[in-house]
């Protein structure tokens, strides 16, 4: 051991040397590509300050007790333990979110693609495009109008129609009944969120060169269906990936619409999404640490799902 000492020192020295050499090399490399770094800097600064830093902070906070007004206190994994083992409402919200995500994610995704594809066939595209995109422009404010539409009152549009048609004979509380609440939120969300994905698809579809379709015809494509599956879909893959990620992300962060429609928290937690659960802990109960733990879980789920989507869609041709 005594003999090994000098060697060890040398080894350490060597390591230090190589490290400093490597650092020096990196530095030289960076200097060489300084223009690249310079152009990257604005985005990286914002990305780090507004995305990376908050995510890391949230991860740290998820191991603490933090009530916003007093300093955070380290409590280990208690938050996660409570979240998975004792929080019934979290499981309920997970359920709501998954139902919601399945209905608005994939279904919304397919719908907006189908719509884009259909509209791409017609002549007066602009009109349809505006009509489909308008709801998502109006955003959350729209939920006020939707509240009138689905109002629990006799004079809500839906109730009024159904009563006039003789289907109902007294107003049905669409927004208060726990069996219809989530359905209404999903319907409104579908209608609102189709815009961006739809627009991306439409842009993608319009980029496709007509020559490709002509070439396809020459190569023996018989009908529109084949055209869709063999030519269109592979060609708009980047937009598909974007659309899928957008759909999942927006499904998971669903919150505003349900608050606007059914209030917060929704009666009997019937439309209580993970996001709502997070908000509940963060701003009603001021338990930021716990809320951070929820957000970390949410982050992980969203990240996992969207990378899964990306893999699924890109696996096809490679």
């Amino acid at each position: 051991m005594a003999q090994a000492n000098p060697t060890a020192t040398t080894q350490a020295q060597v390591e230090r040397l190589t490290l400093s050499m490597r650092l020096g090399e990196t530095w030289r490399q960076m200097k060489r590509h300084k223009w690249g770094y310079l152009f990257m800097a604005p985005f990286m600064t914002f990305f780090i300050v507004f995305t990376v830093a908050p995510v890391l902070t949230a991860m740290y906070l998820s191991f603490t007790y933090f009530n916003v007004l007093q300093p955070a206190e380290w409590i280990g994994i208690t938050n996660y333990r409570l979240l998975f083992l004792e929080d019934d409402i979290f499981l309920k919200s997970l359920h709501v979110t998954v139902v919601f995500a399945i209905m608005t994610g994939p279904v919304g995704f397919l719908l907006s693609f189908a719509m884009a594809w259909l509209i791409n066939q017609v002549k007066v595209r602009l009109l349809y495009t505006i009509a489909f995109f308008a709801p998502s422009l109006s955003g959350v404010g729209m939920s006020a109008i939707m509240r009138i539409f689905f109002s629990n009152d006799r004079y809500g549009y839906l109730n009024n129609w159904l009563i006039n048609l003789g289907i109902l004979d007294e107003p049905f509380p669409w927004l208060a009944d726990i069996d219809t609440m989530l359905g209404v939120v999903i319907a409104v969300q579908l209608w609102l969120s189709m815009g961006p994905g739809f627009l991306a698809f439409l842009a993608g579809l319009q980029q496709i060169d007509d020559q490709i379709y002509e070439a396809g015809k020459v190569d023996g494509i018989k009908n529109r269906m084949q055209e869709l599956f063999f030519l269109t879909l592979p060609l708009v893959k980047p937009q598909l990936v974007f659309g899928a990620v957008m759909a999942v992300v927006s499904a998971f962060s669903m919150f505003d619409i349900s608050v606007g429609l059914v209030g917060f928290p929704s009666p009997q937690y019937a439309a209580h999404s993970i996001m709502a659960h997070l908000y509940d802990y963060a701003f009603l109960r001021f338990e930021m640490g716990y809320a951070s733990a929820i957000s970390v879980i949410m982050f992980a789920m969203m990240y996992g799902l969207s990378s899964m989507f990306r893999k699924m869609l890109s696996a096809k041709d490679e």
């Binding site: 726990i178 359905g183 209404v184 319907a187 529109r224 928290p265």
Partner: protein, 1006 residues
Amino acid sequence: MKLLGIKPKINVLVAVLCVSALMFSGLALAQDSGETPQGEAGVDFINLFDLVSTLEPLYHEAYATWQEEGLRPVDGVHIELDGGAFVSYDGEVEPEVVSEFEGRTGRILLWEEEEAVATWHVEVPEDGLYILGMEYHPLPGKRASAMRDIRINGEYQFNEARRLHFERTWRDGGKPTRDNQGNDIRPTQVEAPEWRFKHVGDPEGMYRDPFFFALRKGVNEITLHATREPIAIRKIVVESLELPPTYEEVLATYRESGYQEVNDVQIKIQAEDSYRKSDPTVRAQFGTDPLVEPPSDGFYRLNEFGGWAWRKGGQTASWKFTVPESGLYKIGIKGYQSFRNLPAVREVKIDGEIPFRELMEVQFPYSRQWQMVQLGNKEGEPYLIYLEEGEHVLEMEVKVGRNAQTIRMLDTIVRELSGMGRAITYITGPNPDPYMEWEVHKRIPDLLPTLEKIRDQLRAEADALTELADNRVDVAEVFRMTAQQIQGLINDPYQLHTRIADFSEMQSRLGHYVLDLRYSGVSLDYIVVASPDSEWPRVQAGLFERLRYQALGFLESFQKDYTGVGNIYEGEDALRLWVAWGREWALVIKDMIEEEFTPRTGIHVNVNVVPRSAVDAQAASVILLASASGDAPDLAMGVDQLLPIDFAIRGGVVDISQYSDFEEVTTRFRPGMMIPYQYQGGYYALPETQSFNMMFYRTDIIEQELGLKPPQTWDDVREMLPELQQRGMDFFYPSPAGANVERAAISLGPFLYQHGGDFYTEDGLRSALESPEALTAFREWTDLFANYRIPLEANFYNRMRTGEMPIGIADYFTYVLLSTAAPELTGWWKMVPIPGVRQPDGTIDRSAGGTSTAVVIFRDSKYPEAAWELMKWWTSTEVQTRYAEEIEALIGIEAKWNTANVEAFNNLPWPKGDLQAILDQWEWFREKPVVLGDYFTPRHVVNAWNAVVLEGQNPREALEKAVQDINRELIRKQEEFGVEIDEEYKRQLYRGVVRSSPISSSDGEE
């Protein structure tokens, strides 16, 4: 293939609809057996007009009747009655009659007492129509205009006679001053009481001429009833109507007297420098047009007058000017009227007289630009007006003008529609079987002819308006659309019973215009009195001028502090105050601080306006983030009731009970009002405003039509419900089925308290909702919705107006709505305390909760003592009284300040009867304490309500589940904040074993 894209979407919607429709049909079937709509038995033919209304006729209807009876306006009569010459007076104290008052002599009646009645006798020479006038002087009161109603021979001759206004006179308290940011500060509004003579006319300016009253030959009784505010009356005049001469006639007399046009004179009167006005809300405004004088140059400048605030019939404003020589002048008014695409109308008087008939209705046409409105004929020739050398006063009064005709038509239509809707429901019941052949149009013979008449009227009026305005008019489009809808009803009379809702819908749509068309705002910049040969100044800014102005404004916006109000002290020791009321509110607060507080204490205050959401307790509010980053203000006003304790448990706000004079300060409020701000022996806020529910009802429907009395207890309510529902009417009680969960506690509160229950045990550690009292309360509450089936959601104010919900319980903001926005109901509704529960000793317990806003001091304050000084000053009686008066004077009754200071509240200008009702209810005001984990109570109360009312669960089980959830959260929070807890109880709670009444067990433990 195209279907491919559409299908999924439809499928989703269809699925959602089908599922719910199926579920519902199950529900509907289940209750069909229980509830049979009032059947056909007993009702044969219904005379529509029996049901139309029990209100008195409106003036124009009464007038039409007089015409039929052959009553004509009389000529050459002028009779004066002394104010003090009344023959009888019915009040609590004998009124004072003086021989001299404020410079005039006579037998003057000083009428101080509200609700008193005085009668005069007048002898007239013949049967006929007379007008009444009154010479009066307002007496010090609560700053509102005086109201008297008039009965002739014991009768209200028409509905409007119930609300006759005698305005006070106001003026600006001085020239506007400037704050240190260079912005104008509005002068205060001061009363300038003076003797006025007023002909009794429509309070809303609906008629050009004063009201006629029908008097018999011989002695008639004129009875005045004081509904609001004291006045002194010198003379009551009964006379014949003399209209001013026409311009032609006046011009002829000018020519005869040899009056000449003056030359080379132009006098400009800035409209913002008004002389007198009838209403303090009619005042100078901030304008930004480049040509408005004086220019705003990027600051807030008071350079215009009137605007939307000057829109209500009867509001007058006057200006003083001096002409250098006697002669004939022309007058032009620079105005802006883009509020409505129909002309606005003003009556012009000079020195208290209307010079000639044409000036009774001067029109300000719609335009998106400023325009010079010349007093002249349609051909563009100015009217010549003779003015003596010296001082003159020009007065303008808001008149409704041509719109009045439309309004009267609509008013009748609305009443007819309401009558038809009610007549149909009378036959079919509220939920008619759609497949039955009701044939309502045969049972109500007038139905179809009336609908046809309405359709034609609407179409004709739409055409007339379009022609008048010379462009598209929104009102006309609405009329056409409604006519179309009526056509649809006429086309298919056998389906009328399925379209009852159409009637109320049309009614509320048209009813909106009955109100809206009365209003006509005009902004004024200046008035020009000039020689007829002179040119009018240019009033429309060019494109470049406007562009330059807007560019300047845009640049300015980068450095301007928009949230700051008034003087801003930088780099000095000043308190930072956040005000969560609107900017106008903050301005008054700031002015009062600068005027009273700072000079007295030497403490400077910077005021910032923040939106309501910034001081929300339960949200990612600005105040939370500011506190977290150490940037909170010293104190905030108008904060959410829940915020103080939420912050207090985390050490975010200052405990104000540490100050020696705290005890004394709390005596300003009712004892219960401090409850929500108390936590573990400390107090963390003072209440600022408070609000609670009252019961409102239509006297014409409830008392006269149905012969019922307003319910005193919930038993009375339940007894009355079938009576109402049989006639398609309903009772309104705010349900928790809305977006606001917090309302749940207020909704359950009355039942709970009145049965002797409470939300928490005395120590605030456990829910007390498991007590037998709470269960009874919960049952009664959910029963209203589940078994009595009162609506889960409704716009009470609208349905009160239509008569569908003639009675209900609502926030007393409804009071403001009904008194400002439902003039047709004046005198026909009442506000009374809410129903209660009869106690064993025979008294009725009417306890109920409410909400309040608070003032708090934040932890980071560097000057908590100074902040406390400000807080004390702000909640004091004098300041609250003055503030309430000023803000109401400034903005109108819409801004009624429901102060939490009891004494100040008593000083507010409420009519006597209403004030008493509120004070009676206030006696029963009970606050819910805010405890650790409090937010779970309303949440789970809603859940339980939802489970019972919508899913038909057993109330006991639903409530037990709620209590368990609430208790778990309470104990969780208690643990978090270091309250010592009973481990055994906690274990049981989580195993779900705690079932016995916690009230008794917790009593045992203590």
